[in-house]
Amino acid sequence: MHIAKDLVAASATPLVLGILAEEESYGYAILKEISERSGGRLEWTEGLLYPLLHRLERLGHVEAHWRTPDGGRRRKYYAITPSGLKELAEQRKQWDAVSEALQDIWKATRSIVPAPGPVLEG
């Protein structure tokens, strides 16, 4: 299944903030996590992820720091900030509103049914 570009872009911020709200992480791990959580349906490019992370950093929603494990390469870790948590809560409210409205509409319009399931009877 292909998810439309606009939808991917709109959901990017809450997804990243949500993942970072659990624990701090780095680029590749975030990308993998998103892929796993969406069952492989959300495939992000690096061109989406890193500029987004940098934007969130500029806005103060996340903090970044480089860490070098013993004998390893340095890696840039991102952690959510209080302002990021607030933003996440706000985004969540908005998404809840949207998804509630959608649920309502899905229930009302029976003609639209996820393929490939059989048409349900009313």
Binding site: T45, G47, R73, R75, K76
Partner: protein, 454 residues
């Protein structure tokens, strides 16, 4: 993992890094971050059984085309597309060198201010000794600039002696001849001495290695940028002057003496050094401006000159030879030469000839044709009225520039026809520089006695 694959992977990653670093919107820290990402993915893919090189190919492919990636970065970091002149550097030796440059610049700018104001102690005020400053301005403001380059480049003792000797010669030429304040010779010397000394600055700029064609071309590039920076600083200075006069007159204080005795001479003298420092500091950061202006103005000048020629041909009007005509056409040749020089300075010598080269050829040829018409008219006048210092100097300059441009046109013809290499033209221009120096010194040193100090 086998070791040979490992080194192969490292080479591939290094290559990828260098490509990525060329993208202006992607900072080197971002490349580190992306490299970490790339390596993680390669490691994951090799775990599933792929060979490292295959894994690398897939990982790079997954990262998306570099253009797209860097466009995404540019959208977030649009500021990076505007190169900034950053005066601090994390790199310690470079930082120390930069601090030293800044210090030398400040000291030399102060020297410039001192040189311009010191004569006032001996009764040569800036406002009422126009004659003294007319003779010596070039010496006073270019000596600190020469010191600046000699100091920064740590030139050898012989070069220092040669530079000092040339400046002493200039000082003698400007001051020992018994020429009247309103004579032509003094004006000629005031114009030609700065020119001669500017090329002495070039010797200091080239660390004394003035024979090298490349160094000469570097100095030509420097001169264009320096001039542009000086004009920009001058514009800022003009605004400062206006605001100073305005605000002080608003509170009933006349600032005019301060402006003319201090702000303008001191600011000007310091600006000469500051502009030089700016050119060096921003050298690799900002695109050179002179070649950009050249690109804009070459077609415009070419069209104008061709239009003049067509007008002469259609109307068959002769050029009206006024007194100042020769100077005007000298200036025209200087402008055309500058357009040629600065487009050469930025051109890739290996690039094939294009439309722009044809345009340059048209520009040079039409300037030459106009100049021939003027020269014929003026030679008539000179044979009628005899030589004066002004006419001789103007005529000499015209001939020097004419010879340069005529040979330039000949070389250009060969280049656009694909028979000659572009490097020949560059070589010709850098080889010709000493001719200007020789002529400027002749006018300063030999003209006054030749024309009986007229």
């Amino acid at each position: 993992m086998r070791p040979e694959n490992d080194t192969e992977l490292e080479t591939q990653i290094a290559e990828w890094r260098s490509y990525m670093l060329r993208r202006r919107a992607v900072a080197s820290a971002d490349v580190d971050e992306l490299e970490d990402h790339l390596r993680e993915r390669v490691a994951d893919l090799t775990e599933t059984g792929l060979r490292p090189d295959e894994a690398f190919l897939i990982a790079v492919k997954r990262m998306g085309r570099m253009d797209e990636l860097s466009r995404e970065f540019a959208r977030e970091h649009s500021d990076r597309l505007w190169k900034q002149l950053v005066l601090t550097d994390e790199d310690a030796p470079a930082e120390a060198e930069r601090r030293r440059g800044l210090l030398v610049m400040v000291v030399c700018a102060a020297l410039g201010v001192l040189a311009v104001k010191l004569p006032a102690l001996f009764g040569f005020g800036f406002d009422d000794s126009a004659e003294f400053y007319g003779r010596n301005m070039g010496l006073l403001i270019l000596a600190p600039l020469t010191v600046y380059f000699a100091w920064r480049r740590r030139v050898s003792r012989n070069t220092v002696l040669a530079l000092a000797g040339l400046f002493a010669l200039g000082a003698l030429g400007a001051n020992v001849y018994p020429v009247a304040d309103d004579s032509q010779s003094i004006v000629l010397s005031a114009i030609h001495l700065p020119l001669a000394l500017w090329l002495v600055v070039g010797v200091a700029y080239a660390e004394g290695d003035w024979r090298s064609g490349q160094r000469r071309m570097d100095f030509i590039r420097f001169s264009g940028e320096w001039f542009i920076y000086l004009v920009l600083i001058g514009l800022g200075g003009g605004v400062l002057t206006g605001i100073t006069i305005g605000t002080f007159s608003a509170i009933g204080i006349d600032a005019e003496t301060f402006i003319s005795e201090w702000l303008i001479p001191c600011g000007g003298a310091a600006a000469v050094v500051v502009a030089a420092w700016l050119v060096e500091a921003k050298q690799s950061v900002i695109e050179n401006m002179a070649p950009v202006l050249t690109r804009v103005f070459t077609p415009l000048f070419a069209v104008t000159l061709v239009a003049v020629l067509v007008a002469i041909a259609v109307t068959t009007n002769a050029i009206d030879v006024e007194r100042d005509m020769l100077i005007l056409f000298d200036l025209l040749l200087v402008v055309v030469l500058a357009l040629v020089l600065y487009s050469i300075s930025a051109r890739d010598p290996g690039a094939p000839p294009g439309v722009f080269d044809w345009m340059q050829l048209a520009l040079v040829v039409s300037a030459l044709l106009i100049d021939v018409l003027v020269l014929i008219a003026i030679l008539g006048r000179i044979t009628e009225f005899g030589f004066t210092p002004n006419k001789s100097a103007a005529l000499g300059e015209n001939l020097i520039l004419f010879v340069n441009l005529a040979w330039t046109a000949w070389l250009y013809w060969g280049i656009v026809k694909g028979r000659k290499r572009f490097a020949l033209l560059e070589r010709w221009q850098t080889d010709y520089v000493p001719v200007y120096a020789a002529w400027a010194w002749i006018v300063v040193l030999a003209f006054p006695p030749l024309f009986a100090f007229a």
